[in-house]
């Protein structure tokens, strides 16, 4: 009998195992939906899958009468653009400030407490001020995402730069590297994989902030749609939309994982997956 920690499933078993919990979840949903429908044929909370499918197909294929767009795709496009911008700026911020904090003791002394404090401010509570400062347009939505996830990225990156063995920093200096060169050639490349991992962990929160921003002021977007139909408890729209968001986020997550492994193979050689 091998130890449990040494039992590695084959590729086939792996796929099967991965499907299992999802199948179970869907099964439970179907049961729950059927039960609620049996009690109240008009139940809106857990619509059957067929109903959700037809609703979402309509939203994806029939142009909206008023705007002439395909609602699902228009929402997705608008949201993804905001998300992309938000993630992009947040990454840039995280990279620049994180590297500075991680590498320069002076900067760390001056700004680490500030970043720690800023990361604790619940951005949602200060939304009125955000909207005043950044307007109600796209900017404030992007800014909310940036404010929401950048502190995490900054702190995580500073931490991982700080964890690079001191021997490597010393080695770089003995090879004649300046601070800037050390940042560029030693700290940055070694921080990149961890940055991508942190970015992966940020996708969920980023969507959360996006949806919150869209719920307050927007004319389109996935979050806008969810909050629009929420007052009617139109779960036949909400559940597919949430599933769609989850799928998008998951694909993004997977893509980042693949990119990280492709671009930084050295960081994953020891990986026991």
């Amino acid at each position: 009998m091998r130890r449990a920690m040494n039992i590695v499933p084959g590729p086939g078993a792996r796929v099967l195992l991965a499907m299992l919990p999802f199948a179970l979840l869907v099964f439970i949903y179907i049961l729950g939906s059927a039960e609620r429908r049996a009690v109240n044929p008009d139940d809106k909370l857990l619509p059957p899958i067929s109903e959700m499918a037809s609703t979402i197909t309509r939203m994806a294929t029939e142009p909206d009468r008023r705007t002439g767009t395909l609602v699902l795709w228009a929402d997705t496009g608008a949201s993804l653009q905001r998300l992309g911008l938000g993630l992009g700026f947040a990454t840039l911020t995280g990279l620049v400030i994180g590297l500075a904090l991680g590498m320069l003791p002076l900067v760390r002394a001056g700004f680490a407490p500030l970043v720690a404090v800023l990361s604790m401010i619940p951005p949602m509570a200060l939304l009125p001020i955000l909207f005043i400062v950044f307007g109600l347009g796209e900017l404030s939505k992007v800014v909310l995402i940036v404010i929401g996830i950048a502190p995490f990225l900054v702190r995580d990156l500073a931490m991982s730069v700080g964890a690079i063995p001191i021997e490597q920093m010393v080695k770089a200096q003995t090879l004649g590297a300046s601070t800037w060169q050390t940042v560029l050639r030693v700290a940055l490349p070694q921080a990149m994989p961890r940055l991508l991992e942190a970015l992966r962990l940020s996708i969920g929160p980023a969507f959360l902030f996006l949806i919150s921003a869209e719920a307050i002021a927007a004319e389109n977007g996935l979050g806008y749609r969810i909050f629009l139909v929420r007052r009617y408890l139109a779960m036949d729209v909400i559940i597919p939309y949430v599933a769609w968001i989850t799928l998008l986020a998951y694909v993004l997550d997977l893509a980042l994982a693949k990119i990280a492994r492709g671009a930084f193979p050295w960081a994953y050689v020891g990986e026991r997956r």
Partner: protein, 275 residues
């Protein structure tokens, strides 16, 4: 010129005294072998000369000026625990040495300058016998291969002072001799000052122009960390003459000539069996 003066240096870690009143003058161009029992403070001593750590007390000077308290390109190092860059291939690790110097802003070379640097790097990589592994990442190298990579990297800069911490410890005798043959001419040509920690007495005698032994002078059995190590032996290997026995902390009665001859034998062995 790169003469090092160490004056009354103490190093303490909390309660523990590691080095105690170390004094030494190292002439420019010397090859100093450092030996001593495990844990006596050899690596600590090198870290101090490197500028990575600062002594608790005492001063170090390089050519009369206080030793810069930060590492720099004038002092190369091969650490005891391999410290190559994990994110660069073997070739990239050596290339980096050139890139830092020649490309201040991007620390990356392109075109002709890159090609010429690549050539120099390749020569060195071949020199340490890693030619076939030039494109591997360090994690796919064996222990000895990583150590050799670190040596190539340090040699690329041709530093004024070269600090080696058991650089050949993980190498078989053959590869070790190859490394000796790589480093010796470089040292001679460039007049580098080399400080090498080693546990191999053959090597210490064979390569060095001077040998120092670090050891605790007293041991308090109740408080073993109470006394630090200092220099217990200091031999000029360029002069002919009797060599004392090196039995750390417990000098033996064995005649000096006997030991010296067997050490010479040992050195001969490695030279003979690996031409």
């Amino acid at each position: 010129m790169s003469a090092i003066k160490v004056r009354d240096v103490w190093v303490e870690y909390g309660d523990q005294i590691v080095l105690e009143s170390v004094n030494i003058d190292i002439a420019s161009g010397a090859f100093v072998s450092v030996v001593g029992p495990s844990g006596c403070g050899k690596s600590t001593f090198l870290r101090m000369v490197l500028g990575q750590d600062r002594p608790t007390r005492g001063t170090l000077t390089l050519d009369g000026a206080p030793l810069p308290a930060e590492p720099g390109p004038d002092r190369g190092v091969v650490f005891q625990r391999y410290s190559v860059f994990p994110h660069l291939t073997v070739l990239g690790n050596v290339l980096a040495s050139y890139e830092f110097a020649e490309s201040p802003f991007l620390a990356k070379l392109f075109g002709a300058r890159r090609r010429s640097a690549l050539e120099k790097a390749k020569l060195l990589v071949d020199g340490v016998g890693l030619g076939p592994h030039a494109n591997k990442y360090p994690s796919a190298l064996s222990g000895g291969q990583q150590q050799r990579l670190a040596i190539a990297q340090a040699l690329a800069k041709e530093p004024k002072v070269l600090l080696l911490d058991e650089p050949f410890g993980a190498l078989d005798p053959g590869t070790r001799t190859q490394m000796h043959q790589l480093i010796k001419p470089l040292w001679r040509e460039h007049g580098m000052t080399v400080i090498m920690v080693t546990h191999d007495l053959k090597e210490a005698f064979g390569l060095g122009t001077r040998l120092i032994a670090l050891d605790k002078k007293r041991i308090d059995p109740q408080e073993p960390n109470r006394f630090g190590a200092h220099i217990t032996y200091d031999l000029d290997l360029t002069r002919d003459g009797p060599v004392p026995v090196l039995g750390f902390s417990r000098p033996l009665d064995g005649g000096p000539s006997a030991t010296s001859s067997s050490v010479r034998d040992g050195a001969d062995l490695s030279a003979r069996s690996n031409p």
